[in-house]
């Protein structure tokens, strides 16, 4: 499996709105996180949901975000709390 990112790397989730079916929750769009692990590669749901073949398969990553970065002051727990979301590779870009 060819993956663009590896564990520990800092990434940003693409901020794009997307009308069709997709699996990137709104609240992490545009946010920076860290690749925690690679889950494998899976059919692309954005094509499979409409009768497509879902190919090429997309690597899927568990990406970890700091709650503070996601919700700012709305988050009422300690700074160390985090949120892990599974995100397909084409939704991620390298963070600078």
């Amino acid at each position: 499996m060819n993956t663009k990112f590896s564990p520990g790397q800092v990434v940003r989730v693409r901020p794009d709105a997307h009308d069709g079916h997709h699996r990137t929750p709104w609240f992490i769009k545009g946010k920076m996180g860290r690749i925690h692990s690679v889950a494998g590669e899976f059919f692309n749901p954005e094509s499979r949901a409409y009768g497509g073949d879902g190919l090429p398969k997309q690597p899927l990553y568990a990406v970890e975000f700091e709650q503070r970065d996601v919700w700012a002051t709305e988050y009422r727990g300690p700074d160390s709390d985090t949120l892990v979301v599974d995100i397909y590779e084409h939704w991620l870009v390298k963070a600078n």
Binding site: R23, P25, A39, A62, Y75, R76, S80, I87
Partner: protein, 221 residues
């Protein structure tokens, strides 16, 4: 949706189906359309009655007791635990459990420093291959909305108050991985057998909203 749809599910309702039940209560239009689709698809041979029955039985096949066995095994066997964390699919297969073919399983470990809690904000992804279908609250709007932004107050509602020193890691199972929490083994359980340990592992502790029971059977907060 309780994804792992149709595979490896468990007992969730009346054991015997009452053929009369469907018109004892007034059915919603939607329910009627489901029953109509069911009959049409079988009549037309799109699916067989047997296939639907098999899927229905799969739905009742697993219960949280199955997940509890996996957890108890991990508590008594450190090598199994490592395999479970590294490759959950292969590890649970050793115990006779197979996963739905299109979803992977990831097991996340609670320790004295880190506590995991699982949610699916987009639908209701859940490790049904090991736990059976999710409870209604797991699929509720309140749980889906609140857990990612206020996990500590959600857990408090379930009776779990975590110290600020413990890192809370919320896991949103948004895609093709299902998550099972491996809770921390309760203190004072050294003398217990694997079977006795499994009795302490509740469904909710494998979702992460609670801890397992103490050896006295009380929830650990």
């Amino acid at each position: 949706m309780s994804e792992d749809h149709g595979h490896d599910h468990a007992e969730i309702g009346p054991e015997d189906e009452h053929p009369g039940l469907q018109w004892d209560v007034s059915l919603s239009e939607r329910a009627k359309r489901s029953l109509a689709m069911h009959e049409l698809l079988i009549e037309k041979g799109v699916v067989t009655n047997e296939e639907v029955e098999t899927a229905s039985n799969n739905l009742r096949r697993r219960t949280p007791a199955d997940g509890a066995k996996v957890v108890a095994k991990a508590w008594v066997d450190p090598e199994f635990k490592q395999r479970l964390l590294d490759d959950a699919r292969a590890a649970v297969y050793e115990l006779g459990y197979s996963l739905a073919h299109d979803a992977e399983l990831s097991v996340v470990e609670n320790t004295e420093d880190v506590h995991h809690v699982v949610v699916c904000t987009l639908c209701s992804c859940y490790p049904s291959s090991l736990l059976g279908p999710p409870p209604d609250w797991y699929k509720s709007f309140a749980y889906r909305q609140r857990t990612v932004i206020e996990p500590r107050s959600v857990m408090r509602e379930f009776g779990l108050e975590l110290s600020q020193d413990i890192q809370v890691r919320v896991v949103d199972s948004s895609a093709d991985q299902r998550y099972l929490v491996l809770p921390e083994r309760p203190a004072g359980t050294d003398g217990l057998t694997e079977e006795q340990l499994a009795d302490l592992v509740t469904r909710d502790s494998m979702i992460g909203v609670t801890n397992p029971l103490s050896p006295e059977g009380a929830p650990i907060s």
